[in-house]
C-alpha cells in the first residue's frame, strides 16, 4: 500500500488555491482543498475539485494534432510548429496583424507571459492578447 497526500497549487487559474492530491499506488484518486492555505481557506471551485480526474483522462491530447482532410492526425512537434508559423505569417500577410489573437495562461510564469505578449506585439504586431481566466 502506497498512499500519499501531496500538497500543491491548483493548475487552473491565477488565484493559486492550495490543494492536496491524494494518491494510491502512484495514481491520483482525489483532490482536497487545503485548509491552512490563506488563499482558499479550505474551499475550491468546481474545476479545482476535479483536478484528479483530468490528469488521467483518456481524452487528453498527448501529441500535437493537425486536421488533415477533415480528420485530426498525430504529427511531430517539428511539423506542427512549422505549420503554425507558416499559417500565422500567411494570415498576417493576407488579413493584417489584428486578425490574430494571442491567448495566454494565468498559470504561466510572469516571464513566459512577458515573452508571449512580446511575440504578439513586436513580431506579429497586434495588441490582441488575453488569457484563460477570462474565457
Amino acid at each position: 500500500m502506497n498512499f500519499s497526500n501531496v500538497s500543491t497549487i491548483c493548475p487552473y487559474c491565477g488565484c493559486g488555491c492550495g490543494m492536496i492530491l491524494q494518491t494510491i499506488d502512484q495514481e491520483i484518486i482525489n483532490t482536497l482543498p487545503s485548509k491552512s492555505n490563506p488563499i482558499n481557506e479550505g474551499k475550491l471551485c468546481i474545476k479545482g475539485w476535479n483536478v484528479h480526474d483530468f490528469v488521467v483522462s483518456s481524452q487528453r491530447a498527448t501529441q500535437p494534432l493537425i486536421r488533415k482532410d477533415g480528420d485530426l492526425k498525430e504529427v511531430s512537434w517539428n511539423e506542427v510548429l512549422e505549420y503554425v508559423a507558416k499559417e500565422l505569417m500567411r494570415i498576417k500577410d493576407q488579413y493584417g496583424p489584428d486578425s490574430i489573437a494571442f491567448m495566454s495562461s494565468a498559470k504561466c510564469t510572469n516571464e513566459e507571459n512577458f515573452l508571449f505578449q512580446k511575440l504578439a506585439r513586436a513580431v506579429v504586431g497586434t495588441n490582441n492578447v488575453d488569457h484563460c481566466a477570462r474565457l
Binding site: 497526500n5 494510491i24 482525489n30 479550505g42 474551499k43 471551485c45
Partner: protein, 271 residues
C-alpha cells in the same frame, strides 16, 4: 499535550496492530497541515499535535480517506484519528455496509469546549478516547433561530442563502457520508447539469433529503462552501426531523437507519 496520541499510534504500528495510521501532519517549512498516512512507528515526523487549538481546527475528511484506501485494500487494518464526528461517520458506514469494523482501529480524540460550541455538537467525543476531555454536548441555537422564523421570512432566508451557490459540489465532495456511485446531483432528471447557478432550491433540497438519516454532522460541508451557505443548519434540521419521527440519530447505536428499506445479505452485516 498530544504526545499521548503520537505514542499510542507509534505502539499500534510497531506492534503490527495496524498497517497504517490516517492522521494529520504539519509540513516542514510551509507549516501547512495536511492529512497524512503514517506507516512506520519509528517515524512520526511532523505528527500534528494542535488538534484542539481554537475553533478553526484543521479538520479533514479522514474517514473518506480511509474509505478510499479500504476500497483498494479491503484486507488492510487501518488506524484513524477519530473525533466524535469521525466515529459517527465510521459507525454509519459500517451500517450501510460500506466498511468493515474488523478493518478499522480508532484512536479517539475528544474535542475542546470551544470546538464543541463552534460545531454545536451533540456528542463532541468518541466512545473511547486517548486524548482530550469530555465536554457536554451543545444544542444548536442556529437551528432554533432559523426554525423560529415566520414562514415567509424563513423562505426568504433560505432562498437568499441558496442563491449564492456556485455549484462547486464541494459540499458533496468533502462529505464522508456521500459514498453513492451515482449521485442524484448529477442526474439530468433532478438537476440540470452543466448549468449555473443551480435551480433554487431544488439543488439544496435534493441534497438535504439525501442527508436525512445519514449526515453525521461533521460540518465539513459548511467549511468547504466558498459562499458561506449555512449548510449545517439545513442538515441538522433534516436530522432533527428524522429524530422526531423515527427516533434515529445517524452514527449512534447498532440499529440501522429507518430508511434502510432493502436490508442486506448476512455476509454484509458487520455491525
Amino acid at each position: 499535550m498530544s504526545e499521548k496520541i503520537a505514542k499510542h499510534v507509534s505502539e499500534l504500528l510497531k506492534q503490527g496492530k495496524i498497517e497504517a495510521f490516517i492522521g494529520l501532519k504539519e509540513q516542514q517549512g510551509s507549516k501547512h497541515i495536511i492529512p497524512h498516512i503514517y506507516t512506520d512507528g519509528d517515524n512520526l515526523d511532523g505528527f500534528y499535535t494542535g488538534f484542539n487549538e481554537g475553533a478553526d481546527a484543521k479538520r479533514y475528511p479522514l474517514v473518506k480517506t480511509l474509505f478510499h484506501i479500504s476500497k483498494r485494500y479491503p484486507e488492510a487494518r487501518l488506524g484513524i484519528l477519530a473525533r466524535g464526528c469521525d466515529e459517527r461517520g465510521l459507525k454509519e458506514l459500517y451500517k450501510w455496509n460500506q466498511l468493515n469494523t474488523e478493518q478499522v482501529v480508532t484512536v479517539g480524540l475528544a474535542c475542546s469546549k470551544e470546538l464543541a460550541e463552534f460545531c454545536e455538537c451533540y456528542k463532541p467525543y468518541p466512545d473511547e478516547f486517548v486524548e482530550g476531555e469530555k465536554v457536554p454536548g451543545v444544542d444548536s441555537e442556529r437551528v432554533k433561530k432559523v426554525s423560529a422564523l415566520e414562514e415567509p421570512e424563513r423562505l426568504k432566508f433560505w432562498l437568499d442563502k441558496f442563491s449564492r451557490c456556485i455549484k462547486c459540489y464541494g459540499c458533496r465532495n468533502i462529505c464522508p457520508m456521500c459514498f453513492c456511485k451515482e449521485c442524484s446531483l448529477e442526474e439530468m432528471e433532478f438537476i440540470e447539469t452543466g448549468k449555473i447557478p443551480p435551480e433554487n432550491p431544488i439543488f439544496h433540497l435534493t441534497r438535504a433529503v439525501h442527508m436525512a438519516g445519514r449526515c453525521i454532522d461533521c460540518g465539513l460541508c459548511e467549511e468547504a462552501c466558498p459562499v458561506d451557505i449555512p449548510l449545517r443548519i439545513l442538515y441538522k434540521k433534516v436530522n432533527n426531523i428524522i429524530m422526531d419521527h423515527y427516533s434515529y440519530r445517524p452514527g449512534f447505536g447498532e440499529e440501522k437507519s429507518p430508511l434502510n428499506i432493502l436490508g442486506s445479505r448476512p455476509d454484509e452485516n458487520n455491525s
